[in-house]
């Protein structure tokens, strides 16, 4: 199911705005300051930055770290809605396709909310209102009284079919895992839809390259998690098609052997970009360290692509990634301070390019 668009794209306008916004993201210094602040100070600091409007709007209803978190989500949604508002033509299609990530997030939030009998307002606060779903559909989803009803509402979207298939598994086992897997797989499965393997350096080819990298990294992470956790799960069952680094069979063999896996990635197309991450994986025993290194590597790779092809979708996608990282970083700092972690521990959690 592709996003219907017509007309020509306005890359110049969108990339100029996106680059300006990317330059305004928090830098090293801001994080260094943030890490040393208490939860209250963080909230006050945020009021003086980019997040001012959201902090003020939500300040009456929430406080402390919750306030920071909701303000972050709302700001994220605002910026990504802006991207969709500005862009035209095929550029809109490329961005919308990627922002379905938040549709997936919203569906999961709603399903979890219904499952745990949460209040309507609690679910609503956790939604990130961007992506392909209309406000109305989201409101109706929040109003749904049962998971079955929510799935029915999603019938016309890409998530409808897979969710219906997974519903019987959910009914049998009573756990949310099949439903959430179905949502994720629907998102990644449609990421490369209708994208012809175009000639190199054309806009379509660039989107493809970027999304393939994302899928590869996701596969890599899933494979490693399974390998490290020692669980008896077949990595191939969680394999997402479309990447260019592995096929399912290979991933199954490599997941059981760390060293071979690292060697394989090093030879692959991302070898140079992942150098640091790979070294990290080899010395560190902690999977979290490697995952952060992977995130940083994906961020760097996207930054490189956006410098190489300035008038393309790459700067936009790279901005989306960077913004998401920023939100996650601030959340990590706020939650970490709340839980009383030390400065060093929090700094390890941050992914800074």
């Amino acid at each position: 199911m592709s996003v219907k668009t017509e007309g020509s794209s306005n890359y110049e306008y969108v990339t100029a705005r996106v680059r300006a916004r990317r330059a305004k993201l928090f830098g090293d210094d801001d994080y260094r300051k943030l890490v040393r602040m208490g939860p209250g100070e963080i909230a006050r600091f945020m009021e003086e930055t980019e997040y001012e409007t959201e902090m003020n709007a939500l300040g009456a209803r929430h406080s402390g770290v919750d306030l920071v978190e909701y303000a972050l989500n709302r700001n994220l949604a605002k910026h990504f809605e802006d991207l969709l508002r500005w862009s035209e033509g095929s550029l809109y299609g490329y961005i919308a396709r990627y922002l379905r990530k938040f549709d997936a997030w919203n569906i999961k939030t709603v399903i979890r909310g219904i499952y745990t009998d949460s209040d309507r307002s609690d679910i609503e606060d956790d939604l990130i209102r961007t992506g392909e779903f209309s406000e109305r559909l989201l409101d109706r989803l929040v109003d749904a009284s049962s998971i079955e009803e929510a799935i029915e509402l999603l019938d016309s979207t890409i998530f409808g079919g897979p969710l219906e298939d997974a519903y019987s598994d959910f009914e049998r086992d009573g756990v949310l895992v099949p439903l959430e897997n179905a949502v994720d797989r629907a998102f990644y499965g449609h990421l490369l839809d209708d994208l012809p393997s175009a000639e190199p350096d054309s806009p379509t080819a660039l989107v493809r390259e970027f999304l393939e990298a994302e899928i590869d990294f996701r596969n890599l992470r899933n494979g490693l998690r399974i390998a490290r956790s020692g669980a008896d799960i077949d990595p191939a069952a969680y394999f997402i098609d479309g990447g260019r680094l592995f096929d399912p069979e290979e991933l199954r063999q490599l997941a059981s052997n760390d060293e071979e896996l690292v060697a394989r990635i090093r030879e692959g197309p991302y070898g140079d970009d992942l150098d640091v991450a790979l070294e990290e994986l080899e010395d560190a025993d902690s999977l979290i360290q490697f995952e952060h290194a992977l995130d940083a590597a994906l961020l760097e790779y996207s930054g490189k692509l956006s410098n190489r092809y300035p008038l393309s979708v790459c700067p936009v996608l790279s901005y989306i990634l960077a913004k998401e990282r920023e939100v996650e970083n601030i959340r990590a700092v706020a939650r970490g301070r709340e839980a009383g972690l030390s400065v060093e521990e929090i700094e390890e959690e941050l992914v800074i390019q």
Binding site: N10, E12, Y13, V14, T15, A16, R17, A20, R21, W86, L311
Partner: protein
């Protein structure tokens, strides 16, 4: 590129009919005018992208207005240079 070829194709017979009548279809002033017109067209195409990007930058940060304006009209120098041709033919 294809459209340009068809345009040229439709212009060619006109030029030829002029040649049959004895004189050139386009005298020196006409050709100079054509040169300015084409230069302006080129400048317009160049300004399309720059203008869009400049508007984007100004929307994010109003201080960039001056710089955006200068960069947007920079291709306009092409037209000014093309005007030299007109003065040469007069």
């Amino acid at each position: 590129m294809f459209e340009l070829a068809t345009v040229l194709g439709s212009v060619a017979p006109v030029l030829q009919s002029g040649a049959e009548a004895g004189g050139p279809a386009l005298d020196a002033t006409g050709a100079a005018a054509l040169a300015v017109g084409l230069a302006a067209l080129g400048a317009g195409i160049a300004e399309r992208g720059i203008g869009a990007a400049a508007m984007g930058a100004i929307a994010e940060n109003e201080d960039l207005f001056g710089r955006g304006l200068i960069l947007t009209v920079l291709p306009e120098t092409l037209v000014i240079l093309a005007l030299v041709v007109v003065f040469l033919t007069l």
